[in-house]
Symmetry: C2
Subunit: 111 residues, 2 copies
DNA sequence: GTGGTTTTCAACTATATGGTTCAATACAGC
DNA sequence: GCTGTATTGAACCATATAGTTGAAAACCAC
């Protein structure tokens, strides 16, 4: 436990239910019951998933009456993007080599 | 188990040791013992981490003599990037708002 | 204050994860 | 074939994760 924040964010994202919740929240605030509706799962389970997302900083909670609507905070995703950027050149290089190879196969007619 | 591939990749990345292994492999092929050297951990543990990375398609294994050098395959990271791209506009929008706010604070002198 | 709604907490279960140690496998060199 | 080196497998342990159910908390409406 108490892993570095990038690990916490990535492991929060490594679950399709949680990514689904984020996608829904990208469209705007929602309550827990609204968020739970599409899933064949108890509300308590969704509540737990939301807690994981909150610990990762990806979701924030407001509080009004008995409702505790959640909203997305995309900020931690930036950290993921920064990490990924280091590798982007690698897969792009790979793509370039494939691209060159394919053009080569097509008979050097790379006009 | 048998999660979707994006989940598999993200959960493979959600561990600092495994991200360290990838960083090392980004610099070129390496054997398991070379990879294990910086870590205060048994070779068997490193071997397990590598297996997780292989299942995610991030690392490939060749086989020559008793050595089984690994190399990085950045391809699955592209899938992460595609997923992230959906959210990029959100955090950029957020940044823009902050940027505008800061310029406002600095006395509208946004020359 | 009673009743209904929304959400979380607590206890529990099953399985996954990350590590260990020791044995086994696979190969090269002699 | 024996020895040394590199790597994995098997068994095991502790803890984390993802779900369940049922009760409790917080609030609104009446």
């Amino acid at each position: 436990m108490s892993a570095d924040s990038l690990s916490t964010v990535l492991s929060a994202l490594a679950d399709p239910t949680r990514r689904g919740l984020l996608a829904r929240l990208a469209a705007g605030e929602a309550t827990v019951s609204e968020l739970a509706k599409p899933y064949d799962m108890s509300m308590a389970a969704i509540s737990k998933h939301l807690k994981v997302l909150e610990k990762a900083g990806l979701v924030e909670q407001s509080h009004h009456a008995q409702y505790r609507p959640r909203k997305l905070n995309p900020e931690p995703l930036r950290e993921v993007d920064v990490w990924l950027a280091e590798y982007r050149k690698l897969w792009e290089a790979r793509f370039d080599r494939l691209d060159h190879y394919l053009r080569h196969l097509q008979g050097k007619s790379d006009a």
